[in-house]
Amino acid sequence: MQTRGPSIWERMLSIDRRILYLLLFANIVLFLLLPIRMRAAVSPPVQKFYDEIEKLQPGDLVMISSNWSASTLAENQPQLEAVIRHLMRKKAKFTLISVEAQSRDISYRLASRLTPEGGYEYGRDWAHFGFVTNLIVSIKGMVNNLPDTIKKDVRGTPVSELPLLKGITSLRQYKMIIDVTPSATVPFWISYAPKETKILYCPTSVMAAEAYTFLDSGQIKGMITGAKGAQEYEQLLGIVGLGTRFVNAISFSHVLIILFIFLGNLALFMNRRQMRQEG
């Protein structure tokens, strides 16, 4: 019996996965270094997000719920940075809260680093409420009695003594809630936040598709989808941030994946046909 080496299709199907890994790595390095900048078509949810923040008046209070840890840093950090920068342009005051332990420190450090840019001072213009274990009851508590529910900020100051929360007794006095998150926290805000506040959403891309039903019903007023959405937002703000730096590599990693889904199907198809021909 004549033995034959594996056909090209067979060899393609049994390619070592490590070669694929290297290919992806090289693709990303290449397109990260690529100096061209493509302009995005700003998607409607991002535009709505931008417009909502544009409507804020100086001194308006915004709650940022930051629930991401380092694992989704590449998606959520560009979002949070862009949002804080925009809030500072509008001179809106903000407070942060985290239901994710790591995010307590990550978001506190990030805000501490960014706020001097806008001349923001802790306590006067922004504050961090720290970590809570159960967001639902925290929201319910804040609606009914905010100072008693939060008690103290991360620096140990009773929140009723913070200048920016002077006269604030309830979450109802906030204008807006912005949820920056990789997990299912936005339903908590949708379900338990007071009706006086608008909800804006910065999910990782994984969760964006599911949120379109909330955008349709108006339960969410705007959405920034992952790092890609952050790039669109940076374009609207006219700044170059992480999103803008990442977006070429995102585009072309998609091209690579689509190409390989096609190749994989082709190789399988050709291989089957060959085997059938050979009986």
Binding site: V143, E196, G218
Partner: protein, 280 residues
């Protein structure tokens, strides 16, 4: 109030903000409880056989022809409602393959599920009349770390060249590693999960995927547990009620406009204030 609604700001603090919601909750809760009571009283409730079950049977059939082992993976599912229902399905599969003495492996990433699974699989072999086939070593707790567990599963699937791979429960990012390895060894794969973010990977890589509520229906169909059956029937009625309200409401909106009192009754804040008194 209307302007608030039109801008989409409608998170409710109390039932008084929207009595329609309270009425709907009461109706659905009653329906579910009544159906459970009917199921418990011994009446046999009908649940249709979903196509996913045929896919399971077909996979079992083909794996017995090959004589290679079958893997069952509840993944990292923590012990709870979902894990118990996944085990119901695994019990069914075990009973079927016991007739042909096909070997099985159950791989879990949760210690509590591991303990319960041992009991369940032993039961399955006893019920199939083949207690001799039960091998405690076939049920394995590999690791509670996501990727350590995934690589353990991948290694086993490749070493034993499994014939069929069943994945039921809750899955996270590791799902695609299982599906990919199963695909490489040419296993017939059926997955069932309530984790919608992982369903696409299963659809792309498995022969059949049982999606969302179908998962609960499968286990209720197989276990005939009255509470599950009754609840499922109650949920069905609620879903049809939602369909009915959506269609009737859309027709009413088309005829009378979105601000007509009759449309307001169907869930607009303050729609029922004339009857009950409102929130503000």
């Amino acid at each position: 109030m209307e302007t608030l609604w039109l801008s989409g700001l409608a998170q409710y603090q109390h039932a008084a903000d929207n009595w329609f919601a309270a009425i709907l909750i009461a109706v659905i809760a009653t329906t579910v409880l009544v159906s459970i009571a009917i199921a418990r009283s011994g009446a046999s409730l009908y649940i249709r056989r979903i196509p996913g079950l045929d896919a399971i049977d077909e996979a079992i059939g083909r794996s017995t022809e090959m004589g290679r082992p079958v893997t069952m993976i509840p993944g990292m599912t923590a012990f709870g409602v979902v894990a118990v229902q996944a085990l119901t399905i695994f019990k069914y599969i075990t009973k079927q393959i016991a007739r042909f003495a096909t070997p099985m492996r159950l791989l879990t990433g949760d210690a509590t599920v591991y303990a319960v699974a041992q009991e369940a699989i032993q039961d399955a072999y006893n019920e199939a009349g083949r207690p001799d086939l039960y091998d405690p070593d076939a049920i394995r707790f590999l690791s509670d770390r996501q990727f350590a567990f995934a690589s353990g599963v991948a290694g086993l699937i490749q070493r034993e060249r499994v014939a069929a791979n069943f994945m039921f429960g809750e899955f996270f990012a590791e799902s695609l590693i299982f599906a990919e390895t199963g695909n490489i060894v040419g296993a017939i794969q059926v997955a069932g999960t309530i984790s919608f973010t992982q369903v696409p990977f299963f659809v792309a890589a498995c022969d059949y995927t049982i999606i969302g509520d179908e998962f609960y229906a499968t286990s209720a169909y197989l276990s005939r547990e009255p509470v599950l059956l009754g609840s499922l029937v109650g949920q069905d009625i609620a879903k049809l009620l939602f369909v009915l309200i959506a269609i009737t409401g859309a027709v009413l909106t088309s005829i009378f406009g979105a601000d007509a009192p009759v449309v307001k009754l169907l869930g607009q804040p303050g729609g029922w204030d004339a009857f009950f008194g409102g929130g503000q």
